[in-house]
């Protein structure tokens, strides 16, 4: 769990790191902590997975990756760990999860998000995934987003 200092660090960095030569010293000044403590905390949060990574967070849409396809696959439960790891390792796949089926409406249990510049680019990547998975996928579909109805980031209060 997070303590009060972790929460202050999150609140101070949700908008990003200060763009200065010594960003951690700037954060430390803001929080009233030594720089070494800020760095050690961030290292620990990264090691625990509370921070996924530190760096550039791209805006897909502004970079021209306007086609966003949610490819969904019906994979036998006993094969999903192997297939998921294989699909997740592809460069074109930005997220890959196992989720529950909702039969009969929704037979798919593997979700792989594919971003591309065009829908054709996404379809061609999905075709590559289909070849890679082979007969382990009993059915698949790709759902394109047609409208963004809401998009806000994670916000944790200090």
């Amino acid at each position: 769990m997070l303590d009060a200092i972790d929460r202050k660090l999150i609140a101070a960095t949700q908008g990003g790191l200060p763009l200065v030569r010594e960003p951690y010293a700037a954060l430390a000044d803001q929080l009233g902590l030594p720089e070494a403590q800020v760095i050690a905390r961030l290292q620990d949060l990264l090691a625990r997975g509370a921070i996924r990574r530190i760096g550039a967070i791209p805006n897909h849409y502004a970079l021209g990756f306007t086609a966003n396809g949610m490819s969904v696959w019906d994979v036998a439960d006993e094969e999903i760990a192997e297939v998921g790891a294989m699909v997740g390792a592809l460069d074109a796949v930005t997220h890959c999860y196992e989720r529950p089926r909702h039969l009969p409406l929704w037979p798919y249990n593997l979700f792989a998000m594919v971003h591309g510049r065009t829908r054709d680019e996404v379809r061609s990547e999905v075709a590559d995934i289909a070849r890679l998975i082979g007969p382990a996928a009993r059915a698949h579909e790709v759902l394109f987003s047609t409208r963004i109805l809401k998009k806000t980031g994670l916000r944790i209060a200090a």
Binding site: E22, I51, R52, N59, T66, S145, T146, R147, L149, K150
Partner: protein, 150 residues
């Protein structure tokens, strides 16, 4: 759209993870990209100003922070689509909501610091809309990369 100069490209392709946790991280990361410390700082600032980076810094994992996230989908009758979108979006716990081309045409993410809120919000949305909300919680995560090459 999608126009990035060579410095921007080097930053986006080379700095999606692994930013150093040292006193002068821009100097160190810049050296690996062939940029000076100040060129890297300026380049990141320009990409943010252009909206090509959402931001530069830590990407926090909501679940590891003790919170919870759940994807959910609804088959919304087309005539009611906008009204239902307003009902769903009115919940502050709804972080993202997308229209998608499928019978299940509305896909949204509910996130909360309090895991118990997730089921409560999904139940409130069912009650308010009179539509079945299909919860699609993550069972296993194989990869979350968000990597893009420009």
């Amino acid at each position: 759209m999608g126009i990035v100069d060579p410095t921007g490209r080097a930053i986006i392709n080379g700095l999606q993870g692994g930013f150093p946790l040292t006193s002068r991280p821009f100097r160190e990361a810049g050296a690996a990209l062939g940029l000076t410390e100040d060129e890297l700082i300026e380049g990141v600032g320009e990409l943010i100003a252009a909206g090509q980076l959402s931001r530069f810094g830590p990407l926090w994992n909501a679940v590891e922070l003790g919170g919870a996230v759940c994807l959910a989908a609804i088959a919304v009758p087309p005539a009611r689509f906008d009204a239902v979108a307003n009902q769903v979006n009115a919940h502050p716990e709804v972080a993202h909501n997308y229209e998608r081309g499928h019978a299940l045409n509305m896909w949204f993410v509910v996130s909360s610091e309090d895991p118990a809120r997730i089921d409560a919000v999904l139940a409130e949305i069912e009650r308010e809309t009179g539509l079945v909300v299909h919860a699609m919680p993550k069972r296993q995560e194989f990869f979350v990369g968000f990597r893009v090459e420009v």
